[in-house]
């Protein structure tokens, strides 16, 4: 049975719907990433789980006990969770030690035990030498690790992270991505992690939940979501892709206007509109016509070192992006043929 369960959870503010009937199940010990653009409802979902926000419909339960339902929300402090905030929310009037010890002091544990637990946790995040400093004296990365320590030391039932790395610079962010994953492997807390950064989600998550416009688009492992996106949005948001649409001639052939493309999976409905996605590097650019090819014209090419980026336009005006080997040289406005590998053309919902 799932540890954390959201069933038909919605949130409306007046007439605006922020979250539209979400269903989500998280296994004990899993790290789940809620991934999506800003305004997709991922932070609202997190705050609903934390108990800061009351659901308009639906229930949230942990271990079979209902914690939130409309009109009745268990207070955040009684949920045994902990959370890492985007701003870190370190209390500026307390030392690092006091910040980390705060949650333990509320649990009526004797001082010696608290000292030991905080000490262990601070060394786990490599900050034991800074225990007596104040948050204002620490760098961004150090503050981030204090926030991690403060959240983990209470041995939370569920750990919530709200864009925890968005205030760090690029190099530090990459380092901390692995740090989050390392700490998760060490402590195995059931974790819900909110981010808009796909690389962060890919590095950290066991399961990625892609959200858009208050709904869940797709749930799956990072590999699953990347290689089998079910919607054009997911394909685009994770890794980027060309999404082509048109009328289905049968269950595998799609007329995209500039030609007919065959996909391997028989998922189209004859005479209905259909779409498929294909990654930039999966397009095969060739000089002559072949099987499953469509003619295109190169409008711009950009040398990027390891790859060459091509902008292409099809006969009906559709534009495509392709990523090829850098030694491919085609004059701009030159005519080429684009081959669609049927195995790589994945039917998606529009």
């Amino acid at each position: 049975m799932s540890h954390l369960l959201l069933e038909r959870v919605s949130k409306h503010y007046g007439s605006t719907t922020v979250l539209d009937s979400i269903d989500l199940a998280v296994e004990r010990g899993a790290l789940v990433c809620l991934l999506g653009p800003s305004g997709c409802g991922k932070t609202t979902t997190l705050r609903l789980i934390a108990g800061f926000v009351e659901p308009s419909t639906g229930t949230i339960s942990v271990g079979g006990n209902i914690l939130s339902r409309p009109g009745n929300v268990l207070a955040p402090e009684r949920r045994g969770m902990s959370m890492i905030f985007q701003s870190y929310a370190l209390w500026p009037h307390m030392t690092i030690f006091e910040n980390v010890a705060f949650g333990l002091t509320l649990r009526k544990i004797d001082k010696a035990q608290i000292g030991a637990a905080v000490g262990r946790m601070l060394s786990a995040v490599k900050l034991d030498h800074l225990a007596e400093r104040y948050p204002g004296e620490l760098s961004g990365g150090q503050q981030q690790r204090v926030a991690l320590a403060r959240a983990l030391v209470v041995d939370p039932e569920i750990l919530l992270l709200d864009e925890p790395l968005s205030n760090l610079d690029a190099a530090l962010r990459e380092e901390m991505r692995f740090e989050v994953r390392r700490l998760h492997d060490e402590f195995r807390y059931t974790t819900v992690y909110v981010t808009h950064d796909q690389a962060e989600a890919m590095t950290a998550a066991d399961i990625i939940v892609v959200m858009n416009g208050g709904r869940i688009e797709q749930i799956g492992s990072p590999e699953d979501i990347y290689s089998r996106p079910r919607s054009g949005f997911v394909a685009n948001f994770l890794g980027g892709a060309n999404v082509l649409s048109g009328k289905a001639l049968d269950d595998i052939h799609l007329d995209i206007g500039a030609g007919v493309v065959r996909c391997a999976e028989p998922l189209f409905t004859k005479d209905a509109r259909g779409a498929f996605s294909i990654r930039f590097h999966e397009l095969d650019i060739r000089a002559e016509e072949g099987v499953n090819t469509v003619q295109a014209r190169v409008t711009r090419h950009t040398f990027l070192g390891a790859t060459r980026d091509l902008s292409l336009v099809l006969a009906n005006g559709t534009t495509l992006r392709a990523s090829t080997t850098p030694d491919l040289r085609i004059p701009e406005s030159g005519a080429v043929w684009v081959r669609f590998d049927p195995q790589r053309c994945r039917p998606v919902t529009l």
Binding site: A50, N65, N72, S87, P92, F102, R107, V153, L160
Partner: protein, 576 residues
């Protein structure tokens, strides 16, 4: 990490979970009602009186009197010329001062800033009396010196004139302009100036083309504040204009309460003052909210200081000369008057006396009661006002919504009510049933609370804005209750802001005269009113003793409040 026991949580969500100390509907409703009554009642009675005659019949005759009777029309004209001139002179004198302090390497910049801020603590009426001691035509110290040096009999200055009044009011109004302007100058980001510099503009060109235009809205807003202050001021005109034989609108309103009282004409005269104040406040908020001003407040780099070179010390001397007018000269005069038989007499042992001290603290029966009244009112108003402002700011900052906006409007409304107008309104409201408060300290308490609430609220709101809600949420999610969070997180972080707000109210109450002069009676006199009375009897030595004692006590209490705030606080707080 498994040694730590989990919380006794995971109760099912059956039965409502206790909400903690929410500002429940009851408390909120009570606050709204209280605020509405506090602000609404005096204004209502003011309107009623303004539109009725002595027999209680509806009439517009009171306003007819206002524009036709030269006894009323002249004060109106005087008031607006006074306010206009003060605004101009305050802006002219404060602008270079603010620029020197905020944007140059003037020596002693911090001290100059502190001194100017300290001049806020000086009640304007005390400043006016000090200038009487300095520049009264016959007995003034400066005139005495001038006659000794020149050998003539002519007075150099006469403070009992319209220009004398403009000068004194400017002295104690310019600091407002200074504060508004120097805050704006502090926040002009250096890169805006650098951008002009890199394009080839000289340093003076940068000041003229970039810095000044950016600070102009703040200067105008500051001048508007000065205009408002001068227009609604009561103490200085009462002290300087009445002996000179002319009135401003505030002193006229006051005299309409003297025998035979004409409260309905006073109410009619108060209304234009109220309307103009509201209009000016509206203009000010538009001015400060404009696009151009939004740039000021950018977060890109610190303000850069300009090197004055050889002009450093001349500039310093100039600043000190300017500071002499509101601070050094008046305080020197006060101290001299406090311990001299004749204020303008020579500085020698024969002239030295403790007679004023004796008079004030032993012989004069009103002093002790007035000290007690003043400090009881100041402590009471500061404490009640702080709590009220804190509750409202918490509600507005954390929940907002329509109720929040209503609360904010109510609590800010008194900004638009000049003290003398509020005094008239409260007098009319509480000299009749159902609640007769006139003659008690309560009427003064409500007056001071009303006057000081907007400033306290703005202070609290600023503190809450600086407090990220996530700081409180972090505490909740780790297991602290709402109340526990308030005690362990919110309160310590707000402490300095709360103490600052408390001090602001305290200072405001001690220096308030315009409402107090109308509302206090024989047993409820406060220090400002006692000083005002003593001035009418010309007892300058006693005033000096009371004034200096009052200021010392105020500084002591503020120092104590800040010491309490400092105990246990950490100096190294910087919100991460």
């Amino acid at each position: 990490m498994t040694a730590t026991p989990a919380l006794k949580s995971f109760a099912t969500a059956d039965g409502r979970h206790p909400a903690g100390i929410d500002l429940s509907a009851g408390v909120l409703g009570a606050i709204v009602l209280f605020l509405s009554a506090l602000v609404g009642l005096p204004l209502l009675w003011l309107a009623v009186f303004a539109f009725t005659n002595a027999k209680g019949m509806p009439t517009l005759a009171n306003f007819g009197d206002l524009v036709s009777d030269p006894d009323l029309l002249d004060p109106l004209i005087t008031t607006f010329s006074l306010a206009g001139l003060v605004a101009v002179f305050a802006a002219i004198s404060a602008a270079p001062l603010a620029w020197l302090v905020s944007r140059t390497n003037l020596p002693g910049r911090r001290i100059v800033r502190a001194l100017l801020t300290a001049s806020f603590v000086t009640p304007p009426f005390l400043g006016a009396i000090s200038w009487e001691i300095l520049a009264a035509p016959n007995s003034g110290i400066l005139n005495r010196l001038w006659r000794e040096m020149s050998g003539g009999t002519e007075a150099l200055f006469d403070i009992y004139t319209f220009s004398g009044l403009v000068f004194v009011v400017t002295c104690y109004t310019a600091p407002y302009v200074f504060v508004v302007l120097s805050n704006a100058l502090d926040r002009i980001p250096a890169d805006l100036e650098d951008a002009a510099g890199i394009l080839g503009a000289s340093r003076w060109r940068v000041v003229r083309a970039i810095t000044l235009p950016l600070a102009l809205p703040a200067l105008l807003a500051g001048a508007l504040v000065a205009f408002l202050q001068a227009m609604t001021l009561f103490g200085s005109p009462a002290i300087l204009a009445i002996p000179a034989g002319f009135h401003t609108i505030t002193t006229k309103i006051y005299s309409l309460f003297q025998f035979p009282p004409k409260p309905e004409v006073a109410a009619a005269a108060a209304l234009p003052l109220l309307l103009v104040t509201m209009l000016l406040l509206f203009m000010q908020s538009r001015l400060l909210g404009r696009r151009g001003y939004a740039v000021v407040g950018g977060k890109s780099g610190e303000a850069r200081l300009m090197a004055l070179g050889i002009w450093r010390w001349p500039a310093f001397a100039l600043v000190m000369m300017v500071l002499a007018l509101p601070l050094f000269l008046p305080y020197g005069a006060l101290l001299k008057a406090a311990f001299s038989r004749v204020p303008a007499g020579p500085l020698d042992l024969a002239n030295l006396t403790l007679a004023h001290v004796n008079f004030v603290f032993i012989e004069f029966s009103q002093t002790r009661r007035a000290f007690a009244n003043t400090f009881v009112l100041a402590l009471g108003t500061a404490s009640a006002g702080t709590i009220l402002a804190l509750l409202i700011a918490y509600r507005v900052a954390r929940q907002g919504g329509r109720t929040g906006r209503l609360l904010e409007a109510l609590v800010s409304a008194p900004l638009a009510i000049p003290g003398i107008v509020l005094g008239v309104g409260l007098f009319l409201a509480y000299t009749r049933g159902p609640l007769v408060l006139y003659g008690t300290l309560w009427i003064l308490f409500f007056a001071f609370l009303t006057i000081e609430l907007p400033v306290a609220y703005q202070q609290m709101r600023a503190s809450f804005r600086g407090l990220h809600p996530e700081l409180e949420e972090a505490s909740r999610i780790l297991g602290a209750t709402r109340l526990g969070t308030l005690r362990r997180i919110t309160a310590p972080l707000l402490k300095s802001g709360v103490i600052a707000g408390w001090c602001l109210i305290f200072i405001g109450v001690v220096r308030e005269l315009s409402a107090a002069v109308i509302l206090s009676s024989q047993n409820t006199k406060v220090l400002s009113v006692v000083i005002f009375d003593l001035n009418e009897s010309g007892d300058l030595g006693a005033i000096a003793i009371i004034g200096v004692t009052m200021l010392l006590l105020t500084f002591a209490i503020i120092g104590f409040a800040n010491w309490i705030a400092g105990v246990g606080a950490d100096p190294r707080r910087a919100v991460g």
